[in-house]
Point group: C4
């Protein structure tokens, strides 16, 4: 978890590297700053998306007892694809700035591919856990991760559909879907965790009495 946490923290923070003092004529700073709006929007959207992924990742790992090699590699697959997210985001921000429609179609198609790959890596991850219930904690229902799979499949389909619509109809259609998908994941994740506290620091009274210790990653 320390490793995954570090990677997500680094990726989320590298987003800020795109925010630089703009090149501007003396006196032209305000205009130059305002023209950078696609970068600000891209920062906000990527940050929220990566935050949602982190919360989902954390929610999954609070239910995992052990990791085998297959789970390690499927987790590394999630980390590899989420680390890609800032790249198509920056490409979309760049094309929003230059405003060429053909480039914008390419940019949303690229984003859709990366988004679909990310959801695919979650699908592999959930499927591995569904097939190996011995890796999850005792108190977790054996069908829990099997029931997580449809969310990942919906993600793959949504991203691919958005990409196709972005190329055939208009890039804006795709962009709207890209902003909505993380919201979908945020809300469905909340629906699945049944009010279990997400993180717990130190020990509660109950823990002290029973000697349990929550795996707080």
């Amino acid at each position: 978890m320390a490793f995954s946490d570090a990677i997500i923290a680094i990726v989320i923070t590298l987003l800020v590297l795109d925010l630089r003092p703009p090149e501007a004529e003396p006196g032209g700073l305000l205009t130059a700053l305002l023209e950078e709006w696609p970068t600000y929007l891209a920062y906000a959207a990527s940050y929220v998306y990566l935050a949602v992924i982190w919360l989902n990742h954390k929610a999954a790992f609070t239910r995992i007892e052990e990791m085998d090699r297959g789970l390690q590699w499927s987790n590394l697959g999630i980390l590899a694809t989420l680390a890609l997210v800032p790249w198509p985001t920056a490409v979309i921000a760049e094309t929003a700035r230059t405003g060429n429609l053909a480039d914008e179609r390419v940019a949303v198609a690229l984003y859709a591919i990366v988004g679909a790959l990310l959801c695919l890596s979650w699908l592999v991850f959930f499927s591995h856990l569904a097939r190996h219930p011995d890796l999850t904690k005792e108190e977790v229902d054996d069908s829990y991760f099997a029931r997580e799979r449809p969310r990942a499949i919906i993600g793959v389909v949504l991203y691919l559909a958005a990409g196709i619509a972005g190329v055939l109809i208009h890039p804006l259609v795709a962009s709207v879907v890209f902003l909505l998908v993380p919201t979908f994941f945020a809300f469905t994740s909340h629906g699945f965790d049944q009010g279990v506290p997400l993180l717990r620091f130190g020990r509660t009274n109950d823990d002290r009495e029973s000697g349990k210790r929550s795996g707080d990653g």
Copy 2:
């Protein structure tokens, strides 16, 4: 905490990336280095500010027992806005170098907005904890986080006032306030923690006897 710690550590370290060997004619290194003084001042000021935020963050989390989804998101709000700090800092350093007064007004206004957003995110965080005393540790007074809110409100007001003064009067007025606000937060934080040790490694004798274990994040 590992995730928050990692993000603050990365943001604080990325500040150094602005310190590069300057472009200079052969023999002109000394002049070039001295001309970079606004960057050095910006490095020092941002470092101290982020260090104060980290200490306040740590002080808050030593009192938190559990995190729910609302606290997660308000914490992510703090992390998102503190990650922005190096950006307006670099913009101010850049305008200090070029010396255009109109640009300097824009730069301090930008810094004021980011500073106010950061204090606003702390206000949301403290308010959530004040409304959910079940998230804090038993030994923490239920009104503790309610009493932290005025500090955040003062921060929002100070940043907005400094920004307005910087635009209407002179950017220097704003810069002085920007340097003083972290000092205010550093000292008031000290006043609130009533001599409780900030961090504790391993176990003390007392812990060993009573079986308690401090949540050392």
Copy 3:
């Protein structure tokens, strides 16, 4: 472990910094993106390689009880050389783009040297552990790390041979070996760990009863 984990996480994430919106004429984004293919391949290959190193590193440290100064420095040697990996990878990607055969020979030779140094640092690490069985956990066979040494030696030989073949025959020969070596390390590592779970979060029932606590780094 936190320190090693952080370094590997940072190195693996810095790879993505090479993925940037390409410089392109309006309408030329697709061509420009497709021309970047050596960077994508280099990203994938370096990511997999660093992931394999991380898993091997983790597998070694689950068997280590204590660290002395010699082990600290040999671990720092591994971290220093693995941090170099993205550099020759970027050089190879760059020469694949420009397509000069003499440069490609130099690039694969550079990669071979870094790869051999990395395997050499593992050899030093394994040899230190083989000579100091008191540093490993009780349940680990005393000959375990001695038996890890041949893998490191094979790595040194393979990288040097690939470098020489790349210079004398053709750079492509070297590139193929570079892609195969991590696969070799991934599979032989799997063969050595005898089904022991790689990571364990929280406590299992057995732990609770016997009072043991796995060092989950």
Copy 4:
């Protein structure tokens, strides 16, 4: 410790960012790579220096039980100055490449100032611990940190003397001292820790029996 570890890990890894595929004419890669030798030397020297600092930092913190605000700020002082190290290192590497003697004097003076500031921050850190023996672990001798102070004072003096010699005599004199000081700290640190294992993972048999738990940061 997680925060300090993360900062040192990031600083040590950012060093590699200076290693990039060099700008070169087709066929000129080998020459271009060889001309970068000052960067390689700077990478190696900075890496070893930061590794020594990390080991010293770790050795100090294994003896610390609690942190008060003064210790927090003096630790933040160490982190702030060590994060600066890559900057004068890059400036020296840059002047070694261009070869202007006046610039080289400036570069070694800059390095000497940063080095002296770093040792000064250690002096403040050790002095605080010497004045507050209640912050250290019971088993640590009360005079331990008082006896660490001379090492820091010697460091300040050595860096200032090297800087002056570099400006008045020749930059090379300073560079040699810069390479030797970390060696001095590495060896004297070893002399001070009296064979105590540096890190310990999990629990040993003895721990299990006596109920002690080493603070493994």
